[in-house]
Symmetry: C2
Subunit: 756 residues, 2 copies
């Protein structure tokens, strides 16, 4: 019996902001002169579906179980300070239903407004207010984002391709200069978590831009002023070098189009400057402020020998023109020696820091954090509305219950990028993949519905899932940079986030189970076939089979169609593996290597369930085990499409052990183990592995990456310190052509490890 009814499934809240307030446990608030940010922690009911282990010998389809666990989530909500009363009212109203008793509890507060609004917070939420040092909060928040959040920081290239050059998250982030541009500007030198200092600042900040802008133009708000600035022509207002010197000023090394004097062209009243528009004035004003901050920041950076300047605070709000001006200014005045970096979540630094002030254990080695693409606003995203009139932005981070770290086998961890193609920069690829994912969505929808046949809300939730995901795809079409690097990986992760959000924890579970069972039926025969071959022939056939197995992939649109015919078996797949030479063909080098001394430990990052794992990977593993090689099967921690999951892999090995004594022996004596790789999507990000698997990998001398999600979309170009074997069949004709091949093009990339 399908046990899903054991857990009630309700529709998600219709209000999409201030989510999960019912389980909100701990609050922090950062009240700026302009924007307020509220942080809280909630527990998210998280359904997990799995084989019913007690009945794993039972070959019926219905034996899977839904269990309910709790995930931890951090919520950050940002809104204009003028709406603070509305927002506090909203929170108070929703907290009424909370199981938590807030009485006697406190809220961490930072930002200038923490002083002004203390009474209001106490009155509305009944929480006492603990004021936290603003600078410490900002820096704590910045460190947290830089270390934890993928693609948090970026270099901005106006008219560049990509426009946004995102930086990989890293633990080695110090030293840096943090420039927080709020109403005024604070400049802080950060040397470590504990060692930092405010070394400067200026009163010419966001407040100056808006203050002067509101006196000079008709703009009704900060963003309106920024919009004006986008349309203006500053040359109507500013005096350029060429206005003075008739061209470049060579003696001073100043090009003609450099601003000599901001507003220097306006020298009478506004009436006599009829051609000067609000737009021109706003643009020139933006240049004054941004140039100034950029120059001062670059001087402080140079004085302190710092190469990186991060910008935070409400002024920039990731406004392209402002970022460009500041970047230009920093680059100009530092003569290229200082890099300006912006943050996708610049507005949240203080709130994150304040929250962590009360939760230091969350800011260490114990957990990692993943941006929830379903619940977070993108860069430049229009706001979600709270009630009828309060625009709100949000950021949600899901806690990963262990610390994540780099794969120790990577040659250059600092420069590792877990994506082969940057869809921000590659317009053709972007258009293809966005279209492709949109086309494929209905498969997910029907799969999701059929995974919960007895659930009354499944259809409705699946439709909501589709609507939201397509909306996101359309958003990414316009702003591909909205959530960091746009990649096949991020698009796949986003599907997983949405599926979980709409309570489809694992639509492919049943299918994976069926495929595994089906493949297991042929395993014995397959192993016998291999044993009949001579060594060289067998080694070659193992690779062909590995590839043939990888053809079975419900995730690939064109394959799914073939598989649905039910006439496509393992031998049909082997026949589909093209003649050599393959697109990337290091088979000969691999076969030579196989005649040499055996590897001592091999880690295989496995791909799909069914024929892939059972008929492709297992025989390969068996061959390694026979040479006394230790093998680690690295499988996904959380479900993603038909990728074989860690828990399934364990069950599967039990079943295979019954069929194959080599496997059985290896499992028994620990020569063959399964480890979870901390991935929750079908792609492999080698910068985010669990500590345990990372430790095990340290002594591995061959790493095998299998399938498009592990070897093509992500790590095709990754270099390792040990030998590596990347095996995949490209089951997408567009991508195959892109790489110079045809449908079913083969990647068989074997490389020697590069010693450091």
């Amino acid at each position: 019996m399908n046990k899903e009814t054991a857990v009630s499934i309700t529709l998600p809240e219709t209000v999409q902001v201030f989510r999960n307030l019912k389980t909100a446990k701990r609050f922090a608030i950062d009240i700026g002169g302009s924007l307020t940010k509220i942080a809280y922690y909630s527990t998210v009911p998280c359904r997990r579906v799995s084989y019913d282990k007690d009945s794993c010998e039972d070959h019926q389809n219905e034996n899977f179980t839904y269990t309910l666990s709790e995930g931890a989530r951090l919520h950050f909500v940002k809104f204009e300070t003028k709406y603070i009363t509305d927002c506090l009212n909203f929170i108070a109203a929703h907290l009424v239903n909370s199981h938590e008793d807030m009485t006697g509890k406190s809220i961490k507060a930072t930002g200038g407004g923490a002083y002004k609004y203390t009474d209001l917070i106490q009155e509305k939420l009944g929480l006492s207010v603990d004021k936290e040092d603003e600078m410490a909060c900002l820096i704590k928040g910045c460190n947290f984002l830089l270390k934890n959040i993928s693609d948090e920081a970026f270099v901005y290239h106006r008219n560049g391709n990509p426009e946004y050059e995102f930086q990989t998250a890293h633990t080695n982030i110090f030293p840096y200069l943090l420039v927080n541009i709020g109403s005024g500007v604070s400049i802080m030198k950060v040397e470590s978590e504990e060692k930092y200092e405010r070394i400067g600042g200026t009163a010419t900040g966001g407040g100056t831009f808006w203050g002067l802008g509101s006196l000079l133009t008709k703009a009704k708000g900060f963003d309106e002023l920024l919009k004006l600035a986008e349309k203006g022509e500053h040359r109507h207002v500013d005096l350029l070098v060429r206005d003075i010197y008739g061209g470049d000023c060579k003696v001073l090394g100043l090009p003609g189009d450099v601003i000599a004097s901001s507003f220097g062209r306006v020298c009478q009243s506004r009436e006599t400057n009829e051609n000067v528009t609000d737009e021109d004035v706003a643009r020139s004003l933006l240049f004054v402020i941004s140039n100034d901050i950029g120059q001062i920041a670059s001087l402080y950076a140079m004085m302190n020998n710092l190469k990186k300047v991060y910008f935070g605070g409400y002024f920039l709000r990731n406004h392209p023109l402002s970022m460009h001006t500041i970047s230009y200014s920093i680059n100009y005045w530092s003569r290229g020696s200082v890099q300006s970096l912006f943050l996708r979540h610049e507005g949240y630094l203080g709130a994150i820091g304040a929250f962590l002030k009360g939760a230091e254990e969350w800011d260490g080695d114990k957990y990692s954090w993943l941006e929830n693409y379903a619940g977070s606003s993108g860069l430049k995203t229009g706001s979600v509305l709270l009630d009828s009139n309060v625009p709100v932005h949000q950021l949600e981070l899901d806690r990963w219950e262990s610390a994540l770290t780099y794969c120790p086998l990577l040659l250059e961890p600092a420069n590792y990028i877990p994506d082969t193609v940057d869809l921000n920069a590659d317009q053709e690829a972007r258009e293809y993949w966005l279209h492709c994912f949109e086309e494929k969505i209905d498969t997910f929808v029907s799969r999701a519905i059929s995974s919960q046949p007895n659930n009354a809300t499944a259809v409705e939730r699946a439709e909501l899932f589709k609507e939201k995901y397509i909306k996101r795809l359309h958003h990414l079409k316009v702003q591909p940079f909205a959530y960091g690097n746009l990649t096949v990986r991020s698009l796949l992760d986003t599907i997983e986030h949405y599926l979980r959000e709409f309570d489809f924890p694992d639509p492919f579970l049943l299918q994976r189970q069926q495929e595994n069972e089906f493949a297991l039926m042929s395993l014995k025969e397959r192993l016998d076939e291999l044993d009949a071959m001579d060594t060289k022939e067998r080694h070659k056939d193992l690779i062909i089979s590995f590839l043939a197995g990888n053809i079975f992939d419900w995730g690939a649109k064109e394959i799914a169609r073939m598989l649905e015919t039910n006439t496509f078996g393992f031998n049909e797949a082997k026949a589909k593996v093209p003649e050599r030479p393959w697109l990337i063909d290091n088979l000969d080098e691999w076969l030579v290597r196989m005649t040499g001394p055996a590897y001592s430990k091999v880690a295989i990052f496995v791909d799909n369930s069914g024929a892939d794992i059972v008929l492709g990977v297992i025989p390969f593993v068996r061959e390694l085990l026979r040479h006394n090689t230790k093998v680690i099967l690295c499988a996904n921690s959380a479900p993603a499409l038909n990728d074989v999951m860690h828990t399934e892999m364990v069950i599967l090995l039990k079943k295979i052990s019954a069929l194959c004594p080599v496997i059985e022996a290896a499992v028994t004596c620990g020569k063959l183990i399964v480890m979870e790789n901390a991935q929750s999507g079908p792609c492999l990000d080698l910068s985010r592995l669990g500590k345990e698997i990372a430790d095990e990998l340290r002594t591995t001398d061959l790493i095998v990456l299998e399938g498009m999600g592990r070897a093509v979309h992500t790590n095709l170009e990754a270099k390792f310190t040990c030998d590596s074997l990347k095996i995949a069949v490209i089951k997408n004709s567009w991508l195959a052509k892109r790489l110079g091949g045809n449908m079913f093009a083969v990647i068989c990339k074997y490389e020697k490890g590069i010693k450091q």
Copy 2:
């Protein structure tokens, strides 16, 4: 016969600006976006009056001669660029009468406008335009002013006493940072005359202040905008630290009244900010620009390890609020490690530099320059008007025909200040002296008139002299800092400048001659008296006589009255010398020293003609000569009151030689010589001596300073590396009381040299 008729005396030009255009010889122009500065060189007819040397044996009163020589003068005229056509027309019109043919000649031009106005200049003046590098001109001009002009640079202390702390001119001026604030800002590092570099700048400058100010307020001009700023309350507009934190922000170390965000308080349209006035906005705007420039300048200074930042350019125009803000900002951001210095003639840097570009020989060791107080505008002085409507400021520098240098005997030349009392800081003294000089002016007027009895314009010129000088005194009452340190010395120098300006080259000549002749009659008898004394008595009497001689001083108001009675002789003067102990009384130490080994070389800076030099100094000199000491009599180069002049001293020694064989022998063998001290006023500035006398002083082992102008007003506190004797009778009861004594209080200050 009075020979003054040999030179025609005309009334000075009624137009007081663009003076001496008729003899203008070489032009330079610095055209800024706002202000234009024109520089030219003229020869000034300079009458000198002297004894007729051929008839020096003739004791008649009428034997003095007027000779005409030419002085060189540099003129700098500053006006708003919008009047450039008027000014060029004016120059062209007055050049018509010039003896110089301008055809084929060129004008050095610098500043942004040099490019724009090339054609206009060529058309109006018929001069071809040689464009000069702006930065090189600015720096050349700045170096020139710092090295040559007394009190050019100053530290500004708002509400301080003194408000203006002027710096002594010095040859050792490098390295420094020059910040030129025009429409935009250029920041230059200057390491030597040849080595300099533009290391930065900002487009937020004077043009921004005026551009934004003209959009935001009703001000019709830059100065009007500054005036608004003086009256405003920036707190209506700016967000202070205390507005955010409720007080000081201790964590960030920010006092509550520091601006957190300029204009940060204005956050709606002007209409909804009704209490915000133009004045408030102008003040906040001034703060934005000044703070910003100060901060950026201090960062560049610190990065380059420079301790001094000089500011030039049209923005500051010595506006107190701007200077205060910049000084505060520099001090704040550099934590006191960088000093901000302003220049009285900041507007002229480029024009001076451009002029010198064509006249490098003027910018070296050959000449020195003295500010002509009569022809120069003061700091913050209202402009003189050209024709009916063009306001003009000017600076005139008179060339001194040799290079001037520090007295080599000064213990600390760099810290030498040639004035005992700073009338800027000492309000009581200032009021007294300004009143005193105003009272005394009529004496000068009548003396001036009577010095030219046969001249038809003498009365009219003397009245003009009086009018102008009194006007200057009244101006100094309000703005004592207008011409640098206000001191008794500067007030006396100013009289001399005005007298020369109105063609009274030496009103006291006749009187000096008469007094000398009168005193000579008693010399023989006086010497005999001394010879009759024993050594100790004689040494003491020599000092008493020295003091008695110094009582004869027409420059001192109260003495002049006594002398006019004609019943006051040398013995009456000796009787006036008060009983010991004197106000400063080192007589005993001096007498002991006189029993020791004789000095090898003594330099005496002598004071008045008549009894002072003949009966006071000469017997003292004769005693030194008898001990085989070489004696140098250091006398004024140019006439000043009844101070014995160098040329007169030569004649006088001839006459004394006839009466005294010791003197005769010493003059003959060069043991007694007369040297000119390069002073042209009654005070002694030991930082401006001729090279020749400075060389001679190097081997001097006693320096004697005589009289109020040399020993009291100026060098009372000066320390020397050789022994020094300061001898003076204070012939002003106010000053005597001020110093703790009575009328005729005696200074007899003998000090041992301090070895370095």
